[in-house]
Symmetry: C2
Subunit: 239 residues, 2 copies
Amino acid sequence: MPSERAMKTGSACPPPPGPGKLRLYSMRFCPYAQRTRLFLAAKGIQFETINVNLKDKPDWFLEKAPLGKVPVLEKDGKIVYESLVCNEYLDGIYPDKCVTPSDPLEKARQSMVLALWDAKVIGFYYKLMTGKEDERPALGKQFLDGLQFIEKALTQPFFSGNKAGALDYNLWPWFERLCMLKPIGVELSVDKFPQLTAWMERMLQLPEVKTCYFSPEAHAQFGKSWMAGSPDYDIGLEE
Amino acid sequence: MPSERAMKTGSACPPPPGPGKLRLYSMRFCPYAQRTRLFLAAKGIQFETINVNLKDKPDWFLEKAPLGKVPVLEKDGKIVYESLVCNEYLDGIYPDKCVTPSDPLEKARQSMVLALWDAKVIGFYYKLMTGKEDERPALGKQFLDGLQFIEKALTQPFFSGNKAGALDYNLWPWFERLCMLKPIGVELSVDKFPQLTAWMERMLQLPEVKTCYFSPEAHAQFGKSWMAGSPDYDIGLEE
């Protein structure tokens, strides 16, 4: 297992993973990479991780993944990137404990919730993190209004039914990070978000969520370094 | 078959399609809706169309599809929106002549090309259409640089192999509209884009492409009305 420390510009390209071995290129605090880490944990897949410095990206990383983002999977000389693409690919090549729905309508329903998430929620999340103080009340309202679409989509214990599945894992990373919006006055109240707040409690109990979890303090520490323009990818790791 | 004229704010909600019948909500010149029209044509699926005025959207349309965009499918009380979601859903419920790949790696490859398309090409297409004249040379270069990723992804007669498939249909609508960039000096040369220019010739021969086709003149006329802020959705239709 290589070091967890993020590899940056100038680093030597790591040798390819051995035959049949799966490798994940990740960044420890990236919510998109966490989507894939959750899939891997839920399915019990063995893999190795190489963390990448997304501010000073190694050339070899950009050659593998021209979008320059994580997650990226590598196996037997094949590269797959984009979180949702990686996750469906994992269910395709490791069909045990498949978490992607096979029913066409249920699959479409989950994809439509993610489309609402992208269009109505996620942009405001990042604007809240980086926006000016006087813009925050309006952005906070837009963010919470958007989240009502997600609240309404949750009609069972989990987004995927009675058990957590693809949609739960693909949404969770930003809910784990909601704590970062609390200091700026944005949080989910039980009365306005009864389904989502109860779901968050249920998610926190799942072994796969615990495996991929960072504490509010770690997220806050990373967020602070990121907003200051010098993200500390190696928080909590030994030298 | 209802009129092809676009329905707008204040129109009465059309009664639902009959049992087992498929309906497409569309806009005649929308490239995203064309993706789904191409799937429907390639698969030979019977459907009815309701065109929607996307500037003055009917309330009943926004209730069905909260993102307010086309394509939208309706069948037996179920609604599906977002072009890629609609298309995979169609292959799921009408498995005859399936054009979505079943191999996980090939499916991932096609999705990655679409991710490159979204990140490296499509934004510049719209900026070129709406941007200022002095920005066009830089935007044109970025657009053509991005298209090189797509050129490199085309290593067989079609993006999907020896026959047109999902990726071909999901990319084609913007290639049909490339003619709109010609007057502002942006076009694909055979020497820089030998694969894409040959592919365009092949695509134009396909019956499904012909079925969903509008001429350069019609695209130009619609584009002009759209950029002037009063899109003419009903070009060429009788009163």
